[in-house]
């Protein structure tokens, strides 16, 4: 039974949206998502899953912010295959390298038979059990467009999805990494004043996917993202997010390890001040043997900023030899900021090694003195210690050039903060 207040909120939101025209398999997936959404309703303040983050701004019929501030391209300097999504629509590159196919969701939806049909809304629906993810359902039902990306072999250059705009967009991307293929997906952009993005990634046996995202440092945005990943045997996913986005960000990641010896690493380095609320909600399910998962979430907060981490490792019956690791840490630069963490382990197999930890701390005064005694001014020394704190999350970017690029970006933001 959906409570009345929820019902009203859901109806109010739905009244502002129309299911995109088109029919076909995509239309059916949308109808299905809409039905699922109506059954659970939009998230409300009373929901356990929204205990630390008020969803009101994400649920409201229209965005509360009208003019988000924008930044430049944070991946500038990296040689990428760039796809832009803006007010004019989607602009695909003229040529693509071997092993890479990209089309728009709308194009894919026009085909009677398309591989994306087995994924669109499918990973999202699977990830909405047992915890409902209504904002993702809303996205599946109403997203008019997005990208459909398939890697069939190693793709040397990263694919960069750059999304810019000021509205209230819903984008939905589907990625399929075939067996033996490897692709790096970079994301950036002020997607909108309020953005709701869903990315479904299916990594086949032996496939490798890197997913690196930079959010911010622009202030004044409400962002809600979902990453759903389904991992085959001996597959690897590495996802890293650098976030300095205000005012409200909720990034959910739902990963299912379904084949033996798969690995998934999810990490985020976030920093913000003042009117900054950053929520990482992660759910990793081990449903095969010998899989490895890592969750590394670090937040640097000051001037009253709020950080939230809800992270779960679920090890299903039979998922023996699971190696699960989860760390969530905050560095509070003053007494006004808060970090709320809910780490969870749920284990139904007996031969597993899982560890999790959560800490909240201040700047290490001894380290600060050490740096200052070498002549580094207090502000710069603090920045170095912030970088030091966030480093473990950045380590998830295996590629040296990309990691250094992100690190430089971060250092630059810190200098100007």
């Amino acid at each position: 039974m959906v409570a009345e207040a929820k019902m009203t909120a859901t109806e109010d939101r739905l009244a502002t949206l129309t299911v995109p025209a088109g029919g076909g398999w995509l239309g059916r997936a949308r109808e299905d998502a809409l039905a699922r959404l109506k059954a659970v309703g939009m998230p409300g303040r009373r929901d356990e899953y929204w205990r630390y983050t008020d969803p009101t701004a994400l649920v409201a019929p229209s965005p509360a912010i009208s003019t988000p501030t924008s930044d430049g391209d944070p991946w500038e300097g990296i040689d990428t295959i760039t796809v832009t999504i803006d007010a004019a629509g989607i602009t695909l590159p003229d040529t693509l390298p071997d092993g890479l196919e990209i089309s728009t969701l709308a194009q894919a939806g026009e085909a009677d038979i398309h591989w994306a049909r087995d994924l669109y809304g499918v990973l999202e629906a699977a990830g909405s059990r047992p915890v409902a993810r209504p904002l993702a359902m809303l996205n599946t039902a109403f997203a008019a467009d997005g990208l459909v990306i398939r890697a069939t072999g190693p793709v040397a250059k990263p694919v960069h999805i750059r999304t810019t705009g000021t509205g209230d967009p819903l984008h939905h991307h589907v990625v399929r990494v075939e067996s033996g293929a490897e692709v790096t997906i970079l994301k950036s952009g002020t997607a909108g004043a309020r953005a709701n993005t869903v990315t479904e990634i299916d990594v086949a046996d032996g496939g490798i996917c890197h997913h690196f995202r930079i959010q911010g440092p622009d202030h004044g945005r409400h962002v809600n993202t979902h990453l759903f990943a389904r991992m085959g045997a001996s597959s690897l996913l590495k996802s890293f997010t650098l976030s300095a986005n205000g005012e409200l960000t909720r990034n959910e990641a739902v990963i299912e390890l379904l084949g033996d010896e798969g690995a998934a690493h999810i990490a985020c380095a976030a920093f913000g001040k003042g009117d900054f609320h950053h929520d990482d909600t992660v759910w990793v399910t081990h449903d095969a043997e010998d899989c490895e998962s890592r969750q590394v979430f670090k937040k640097v907060l000051r001037d009253g900023a709020t950080g939230v981490f809800q992270g779960k490792i679920l090890v299903k019956d039979g998922a023996q030899k699971t190696d699960g690791y989860q760390i969530s840490q905050s560095l509070l630069l003053d007494d006004d900021s808060v970090f709320l963490a809910k780490p969870e382990l749920e284990i139904y197999a007996d031969d597993v090694a899982c560890s999790h930890g959560s800490t909240t701390g201040a700047i290490d005064e001894t380290a600060l003195f050490y740096l200052r005694s070498r002549g580094v001014p207090q502000k710069d020394a603090t920045d170095l210690l912030v970088l030091s704190f966030l480093a473990e999350a950045l380590e998830e970017i295996g590629d040296d050039a990309l990691r250094e690029h992100v690190s430089d970006r971060l250092a630059d933001w810190l200098r100007h903060h």
């Binding site: 740096l371 200052r372 005694s373 070498r374």
Partner: protein
């Protein structure tokens, strides 16, 4: 170079007096050693000179080349030419040794109104100095002191000193945790920096470091005071008889 007069220091948060009237003058070009039993206040003196929080100067003064340093921030003291090699060097994960050193060198240059060192020049200089201390490229790239052995940490301190070229170097128990070979390397590093315009204050428990770094003057510290000052022979006396006799003599 460094002039300390009647320095009284207590803990900021506690009613505990640690330094009870230290008088010490280190001249340019000289090496002074401070020896003394555990808890006598040697590290405290080095921390107060370099500006660590948590201590309160209740009386006395300290000047570096005539300039009052007690009111300066730690980074200002560093830029003015003061350097402390830590008894326990700090580990900074995620910050490359070389990045850190370049940041420090350039911060000091900036504070003194000098131009930044170019990446190329910096690399040339650091390679040369690291070689002498047997610090390899890997150690330069690794995060500051993370996973370094005790000896590597101390060598790294000397490398920092060599790169920053301070005027007044304070070494706090740089010999502790060093084997004979590492001690030699560290001493050679220090001796290479000996210069008419530079002074050293070497804090140590043991005579053996002073076999390698020959001091001009030796002070004995006890109970927060310099209780005895003499030549290198004073260190030998400590080595032979311990502090007991010396302190008894003073009392």
């Amino acid at each position: 170079m460094l002039e300390i007069k009647n320095l009284h220091v207590k803990l900021e948060d506690e009613d505990k007096q640690i330094l009870k009237g230290v008088d010490l003058t280190v001249e340019a070009g000289k090496v002074h050693a401070i020896m003394g039993p555990n808890g006598s206040g040697k590290s405290t003196l080095s921390y107060v000179m370099s500006g660590r929080d948590g201590y309160e100067v209740t009386d006395g003064a300290a000047t570096l080349e005539g300039e009052d340093i007690l009111e300066m921030e730690p980074e200002e003291r560093a830029a003015a030419g003061l350097f402390l090699a830590f008894q326990y060097p700090v580990e900074i994960p995620g910050v490359g040794n070389m990045t850190f050193l370049r940041t420090a060198v350039n911060a000091q240059r900036k504070a003194r109104g000098e131009a930044e060192i170019s990446a190329g020049d910096f690399l040339k200089v650091i390679r040369e100095k690291a070689k002498m201390l047997k610090i390899d490229a890997d150690m330069l790239k690794r995060p500051v002191n993370v996973g370094f052995s005790g000896g590597e940490k101390k060598r790294n301190e000397i490398l920092q000193m060599a790169m920053l070229e301070p005027k007044m170097c304070i070494l706090d128990e740089t010999d502790s945790g060093l084997d004979v070979d590492a001690m030699k390397l560290v001493s050679e590093g220090v001796n290479a920096l000996r210069d008419a315009g530079r002074a050293f204050l070497v804090i140590t428990h043991y005579q053996r470091l002073l076999d390698h770094i020959k001091p001009d003057v030796v002070h004995i510290m006890a109970g927060g005071r310099i209780v005895k000052t003499g030549g290198p022979e004073l260190a030998l006396e400590v080595e032979r008889n311990g502090y007991g006799d010396l302190l008894g003599e003073v009392a």
